[in-house]
Symmetry: C2
Subunit: 437 residues, 2 copies
């Protein structure tokens, strides 16, 4: 197969010319010799779909088109790179490309978190590739290790810092002691937060990535709607101070976990929330806009993948790796791993998940308070790990850290504490992750 | 292709029944349902080659054979897993398997560091897979990220801690202040060092891995003989003290680097030696028997992969990932990435490599010593970064850290220093890596 097909070039269409699309187009054009040697055939950029053709885009104008639909089905296009963003338009274009027998490389986590099933089925029908390494953690190889390197192992847990904006904000709050609003504003000024930061700070972006990671880790279709989600907008500088006093920091985690019930039944949990992480945990040292993903599996033990999770060049690196693999398959025959959903485990609701809570309360400064508080935990079968009493008078506080218990029992306990006459206010509740318990 | 071939099973032969081979055989037999779903066909263990059939090996005796040569060419074997160790016997068996059209998965770094070229050519002739993720850094995905995820990027440097024995020893020396001999003995008692530790402590194992990493990172055939190598057996507790005073630790590094000459010509450097590493570098925190590999590339920036680099279960995880991929290709058609050696860059000799030196000298306690020492550096065009004078009288010392210079110039400078009348002894010379300079 190699010898004759090595003659013909592989045609590439790029949808979108933002920071990632521009980088991808540049690399295809500037590194053609290396890419040809790696693919086994020349990569030729056939066209780039843009919204408007105006101004200098750094590309010959005949490569630009506003007609994305025609571009993705052109006969001389073999692989389509989708880096538009959004959901409905890319969904339509990616489906059209797959149905026309093109392999697709996409960096679009929101699209994948909703429609991987539909897209994977189209790819399957046409025997083409659907690659998406860039959709999670930018340049950091995570999808390929999970789908290929660990294909013979049993993944039990994936714990990731996969959103650079929130990690930048939480790292800065940890370092400077500044509050959330000021730090968010600073992140915006530095280009780490968008004008509307909702998708990042409320955890939607991290939830899309959790859905993708859980799907491939557990061979089960998980969509964004299956992911329990809390953002970081309620985190205060007091929370970070309290974290420090417990020798922890606070990270927005995307957690994918295999939950094994007492009877051996298995379910999948996918969830996103800010959590206390002990300083000695490898994720605690991942700061600024960096990303990292920890994978725990039966035989490999704990692996960590670390690097730049966003930005034009790192994301383009991941897209280009996928593009070279998809093009190689077009030249040599064969396909990359297809969707694996054979396990189809049920999704466990958040209330069933074993977690640990940190609860910070303002309390009356008198005898018997601790006993009343402890009773609320005990009544719901929640075992307390540590209690610290701080301050006096109006500043009297109780800080409780629990052992593992069902999230529902913990959440009910917190509601009951708020009703206690001796508890003035429950000022902060956070989960604790990454401990050996 | 899928539907009919999904009917037949994929036959697996395992060569060697040590810790890794036993784990692989166990996983194939105990996880057949999962593996079948992932491969698209049942994986069936056809036989295990052992040196002697005696005692309980935890396997039905009819699976054991001492005739490895017949096993690897059996008609009902599709994939051969080689975990024997050594070089000449596995070379013969792997070649025979490949020539008989079997795909091969091997964890044998010493074999690959000598004979990847020969083996890859045999795989190419027969259009079968040769996978070796387990040969470098155990369970940590490194080969696949380099050959696939970064296939569209330009790797500039790979910096790895890829030998668990030496990392255990150096971490323990750093922590306890104990000397090399005692720590090596302790590592032996704890099972982290073999009875004859030469391959580990003299850097041969790390050099094999450096050859493999350099080959795939730079699309160039690099063999063990191309790798410059120094071991850790001369590292003293004084060196670790000195490292601490410079806010560094000492790690045995496998370094693969693209060296770009002033005229733009490119060469490859592959080298192994103990080096000072700044505490803030991500590799400085990799302790005990853990491994980590840092990859620096043009677009992805700095990535790090971290995990367990050795042991039966982690290595078996990597072997099983390769086995599932090789088996999938047998079922669905197609092949994984083949050897890429198109760049065929020349190997740069150690003398040409830009490095930084740390030099610790016992000196006469009198005026003019620093000037004489500084002159030796200046005469060879070596720029000094820091000098520290310590102690007095017989204990007077000079500790010099240089900027980047050619290794040959640095090495000549050290030889000249030893000849100086005012220098009683050059007590320690180490390179410094992982700095931004």
């Amino acid at each position: 197969m190699t010898s004759e097909s090595a003659q013909r070039a592989i045609g590439v269409a790029v949808l979108g010319l933002g920071t990632v699309g521009s980088e991808v187009a540049r690399i295809i054009r500037e590194h053609s010799t290396d890419l040809e040697a790696r693919v086994g055939a020349r990569l030729e950029l056939r066209g780039v779909a843009v919204r408007r053709i105006d101004g200098d885009r750094g590309l010959p104008e005949e490569l630009l088109t506003t007609d994305a639909e025609s571009l993705v089905t052109r006969d001389d296009v073999d692989v389509v790179v989708e880096v538009i963003g959004g959901i409905e338009l890319p969904r339509k274009l990616v489906l059209a490309a797959l149905n026309a027998g093109k392999s697709v490389v996409t960096a679009n986590k929101a699209l994948l978190a909703e429609y991987t099933g539909e897209l994977a089925e189209a790819a399957e029908r046409q025997s083409v590739d659907l690659y998406f390494e860039a959709a999670v953690a930018g340049a950091i190889p995570v999808i390929r290790p999970l789908t290929q390197s660990l294909a013979g192992d049993r993944v039990d847990r994936v714990l990731g810092i996969v959103n650079g904006t929130t990690n930048f904000i939480l790292s800065a709050m940890d370092e400077t002691g500044a509050d959330y609003a000021d730090t968010l504003a600073e992140a915006g000024r530095l280009g780490y937060a968008e004008a509307d930061p909702t998708a990042d700070v409320e955890g939607f972006d991290a939830a899309s990535k959790a859905a993708i990671l859980a799907s491939i880790a557990f061979h089960t279709r998980v969509t964004a709607g299956d992911v329990y989600r809390e953002g970081i907008s309620k985190i205060t500088s007091d929370d970070l101070d309290a974290a420090k006093s417990l020798d922890c920091t606070i990270k927005l985690l995307s957690i994918c976990e295999r939950i094994v019930d007492a009877n051996g039944g298995e379910r999948v949990s996918a969830r996103v929330y800010p959590a206390l992480v002990p300083r000695e945990h490898p994720l605690a040292g991942v700061n600024g806009a960096y990303n990292a993903v920890v994978v725990e599996s039966a035989n490999a033990g704990r692996l960590m993948f670390y690097g730049q999770g966003a930005g034009g060049a790192p994301t383009a690196s991941a897209v280009m790796g996928d593009l070279v693999m998809a093009a190689r398959n077009k030249v040599h025959g064969g396909r990359g791993p297809r969707e694996s959903k054979y396990a189809q485990l049920p999704i466990a609701p958040m209330g069933d998940i074993p977690t640990r809570y940190y609860v910070n309360m303002q309390v009356a400064d008198r005898a018997g308070v601790l006993s009343a508080v402890a009773a609320e935990f005990a009544n719901r079968g929640v075992s307390i790990s540590t209690v610290r009493q701080e301050g006096a008078g109006d500043g009297a506080r109780l800080v409780v850290v629990t052992h593992l218990a069902n999230d529902a029992a913990l959440s009910e306990t917190v509601a009951a504490l708020a009703e206690l006459e001796s508890v003035t206010a429950v000022t902060s509740v956070l989960r604790l992750e990454g401990t050996s318990e």
